[in-house]
Symmetry: C2
Subunit: 591 residues, 2 copies
């Protein structure tokens, strides 16, 4: 065990010795980090080491990757491997592979090295000294073999940083108790899943199914018994509402939370992280017997994903008074109306309108959420502060040309709907790329009944535009529509473009965004501002009170709505600590 | 009635008077044509008038279109309409419209004028003083309302030229007896159609169905009784083979013909024109009691379209010895093998190999075919001489990227398969357009399971490349494959590109192409050389003897494999006269 004080006091040689074993056979990383002393926190040290590798040249990065052994039981002189590496591979069960597993790993190692020119690196250890098992390792290996070389090089470096993080935690005796507890709750809640998914080990929790109701009961139970909330109830729309009073029982409340429903075959953290993180914070306050000069209301929103019915934000919409009673007559695929589903669950739909919150009783709304995108992962940053939930607009369009014989129609005589759509898609890409935090996507693109030997007479497409402000979004959409008209005019085609959905941007309230920034900075991390491209419950609360969100890094390039959605307990620990910091800031401001 | 001699001798004023009424209220056309005297044939005069309009400025062309009345029964002072126009509209039944038809025409006229700024023009008269009926007129009107303004302006001018052609025929007493007879045969043969199509008035004649066998019987009958062929037999593969001996019964033969099967819901002229035109020529020779120093063998090929079985060129392939006996075991959608279908029709599959022709007994092969493309129609040319049947290659491909959230994935972090495919499609278009007579088409293009809010992770496409030579085709395909690799490399994507079909180019035999050119020139028409983008029976005969093709204009932008496929009796007359000219040339050469 070493301390930050020891490290900060060390000369360069000592410094390198103290950090030996964190980055495999690569003392140059510690050497370069030495100049960046002193370090106020372990997360800050980790970040500096990440930046040293990031700023190193390509060859040095490749050298770092190649300094690692392959993930395999193949016999290798032990002196070339660090003890840490041997332990990690043994723990994963790789030291007693079957013949099949061994040869599969051999083949994958060969393929991987041939394709990429460096060995496959994967961090094996999880929270509480657990490890990925052989099956998980082999599945990840197979999947990563299909990645692009640029991505795989970065992914290896990310895994190396994660390996180093775990080794540094050991060295410094750094505990991630809070993060581990959130991890454990996420695992336990993921055991509830809808019929048809549960059997395959997939996670699906849609509105008011048995699994959904079990999740609500479990959340309320944990709030009451594990965390010490003063009350934890399931309301008429299925929200789990926990309240931890302030020192004055009539004090205003901080509202926070996220949703506990999931998409079908989704991930364990989407939504739920934003319930568990404030729950852990309340648990810590309760353990300390501490009351703040404001109350905390944590809501597990019952519905955000729009999976069972064609309506979204049922939970947060009830709080803002925008739950539409007409939705109650909607039927799910089995013909069960929303009203019947509610009554079956013992809820009284008529009481939903009573759930509307009076904003005067609240300080504001904050929400923690997994990023669901690749940005933080690519930047090796655990946390990001949201500047705005993007305004979005969706369109469906068709370009109409003239179908004609691919052999007999000269290039100059064609009215090809697909090449026009191609021009359109490239303009969309270019127009969006020219403006930071603007994205535009042609997600659907198809020549209906296309044939090898027919010049496309028609091409259907979708367009999705999102920006941090409605003005930026609308300007982009207008330019795109204008370009489409010009393309079709020039090519002698006709088109339709119909707006199917529009949602206003929800910029973060500046004062709340600043609190998140200070909370992130307090962890020794750089402040990174980013928009939210996806919609969140905070969008709804934005309608009635100030709001701001904190994003946490997702692994696997930030994949979400997918079982590969993943987090680390270390990131979660930082997220909880940032939330606690925000609570402290607010307490200071109000006292 | 006037004569070309009178017209050639007229001064400008007389000239304009003589041609008055051919182009509605537009004496400027005749005025400008006067300088181009003398005219050796009516087709030449017609061509000059077309060129005058073509060379006129945009406003003059619009003036010509606007000089025409709308197609409607609406009351209009008769002095503003020419007698010809009133007669034509009355003949079509437009003078006694129902209230519904009248108001439909009114609405379409308003829509058309609003969209295009000029009235809808349609030539109503067909062969033998027939007329389009009201239903045909209304259907055409509806269809043309959807066209692009540029196309519609040209289509109105084309109809004006067709109206003028019919009026000039009347003025000059020009008969199109040969063309009319081909027209009539085409109509009568189109009454045979497969079950499921016949009931809907659609044309479908697939291999060895009852309709197909009836067509063969009818062709053989016409050859023998109407045309005076010395023999006309149906061979083992279903070809109808008619022979008209030369003056020496042992003289070599000119082989000609085309296919009588059709695609499903196809046109009346695709293939069949190339049987009827030489049949009429033989009939004329026979009527004149004339024998040439060579024999003529006209073959109605039984199968070219590959509709019933997954094999093509069954008929012409039998003549070149490339009929594959393995095809006999193929089954159609009803499970009937080709062998069973043949035996049911009384054919002996074992005799197919005996159908192989010995090239030493033949002078060569010529084939007349409807163009099946827009080129001649756009150039207002009745006939075109084929330089080569294009070599073609087909590919299927996939671009693999990474599907990701359309809202949360920044533009710079995307691996969008669809925008890569868009770049690819535009390169294909540009690369082909840079080389004359080269075409390349991305006919299939689709993001499988594409979603509005997902960056496309995959895009499937087809590629079809055709060129007058295999070298030009292969060079284009290689550049395209190379560009695809570069696009994917730059964008961090992977791809597949698999060649699924390749067919060699069949360049026309120079001596035979020259004969077609002389035959076209002899009609007073300009010689226009063009490749064939589609495959034809001549491709097969190319394997064993010299060949050359003559193309005839298709109306409706050259649409084919479609009931809208159309020709004029005037074009057909020219086609027959060109064929007769070729026969004469050959007779002179061999005598």
């Amino acid at each position: 065990m070493i301390t930050l004080a020891e490290l900060n006091a060390a000369d360069e040689t000592q410094f390198v010795v103290l950090l030996d074993g964190s980055y495999e056979h690569s003392p140059w990383i510690a050497e370069r980090a030495w100049a960046m002393r002193p370090f106020n926190s372990l997360p800050q040290l980790k970040r500096v080491l990440v930046e040293v590798v990031r700023d190193a040249d390509h060859e040095a990065q490749l050298g770092l990757i190649r300094a690692h052994p392959e993930i395999t039981g193949k016999s290798m002189p032990t002196q070339t491997r660090t003890a840490e590496s041997i332990n990690a591979q043994a723990k994963a069960g790789l030291s007693n592979c079957t013949t099949e597993e061994f040869s599969q790993l051999q083949r994958m190692n060969t393929d991987y090295n041939t394709t990429f020119g460096f060995p496959f690196i994967l961090a094996l250890r999880g929270p509480r000294n657990t490890s990925l098992n052989k099956a998980e390792i082999i599945a990840t290996f197979e999947r990563r073999l299909n990645n692009h070389p640029d991505f795989e090089r970065a992914e290896c470096l990310r895994n190396i940083h994660r390996i180093a993080e775990i080794r540094l935690n050991d060295k410094f005796g750094y505990e991630t108790t809070l993060g581990n507890d959130v991890w454990d709750w996420s695992e336990r809640l993921s055991h509830f899943s809808d019929p048809g998914y549960a059997e395959r080990g997939e996670l699906s929790v849609t509105y008011l199914t048995d699994a959904h109701r079990a999740c609500a009961a479990r959340l309320a139970h944990w709030m009451r018994t594990d965390c010490g909330f003063d009350s934890a109830e399931i309301d008429a729309v299925g929200n789990v509402v926990g309240v931890y009073h302030g020192s004055d029982p009539k004090a205003k409340r901080l509202l926070t939370g996220s949703h506990y429903d999931t998409v079908r075959n989704g991930g364990k953290y989407d939504g739920r992280l934003g319930i568990f993180v404030p729950m852990i914070c309340v648990r810590e306050l309760h353990r300390q017997g501490r009351r703040l000069p404001y109350a905390i209301e944590v809501v597990g929103f019952s519905e955000e994903e729009g999976q069972r019915y064609k309506a979204v934000f049922l939970g947060s919409g009830a709080l803002t008074g925008t739950f539409n009673p007409a939705w109650l007559d909607q039927k799910d695929v089995d013909g069960i109306t929303m009203r019947a589903a509610m009554e079956h669950a013992g809820h009284c739909p008529d009481d939903i309108e009573k759930l509307k919150r009076d904003a005067n009783h609240y300080l504001g709304f904050v929400e923690v959420h997994i990023e669901q995108g690749p940005v933080l992962n690519a930047l090796d940053l655990p946390l990001g502060v949201v500047t705005s939930i993007n305004g979005s607009a969706r369109f469906l369009g068709t370009i109409q040309g003239v179908a004609s014989h691919a052999g007999t129609t000269p290039m100059g005589s064609r009215r090809d709907a697909a090449t026009a759509a191609a021009e359109f898609a490239l303009y969309v890409e270019k127009r969006a790329a020219a403006v930071p935090d603007l994205v535009a996507t042609v997600g659907m693109l198809a020549v209906p009944n296309g044939s090898n030997n027919v010049v496309p007479g028609r091409c259907n497409f979708s367009l999705d535009v999102r920006a941090t402000s409605d003005a930026v979004r609308d300007s982009c959409a207008a330019d795109i529509a204008n370009e489409l008209a010009q393309i079709c005019q020039r090519r002698g085609l006709s088109f339709t473009l119909e707006e199917t959905m529009v949602a206003a941007a929800a910029p973060s309230a500046p004062a709340w965004q600043k609190r998140w920034e200070a909370a992130v900075k307090a962890q020794g991390l750089p402040v990174f501002q980013m928009p939210s491209g996806a919609g969140h419950d905070a969008m709804k609360l934005h309608e009635i009170m100030p709001q701001a969100m904190l994003f946490m890094r997702g692994l696997n390039a930030g994949i979400s709505h997918n079982p590969l959605e993943a987090i680390t307990n270390d990131d979660t620990e930082l997220c909880v600590r940032a939330f606690l910091n925000l609570l402290d800031q607010l307490a200071t401001e109000l006292s």
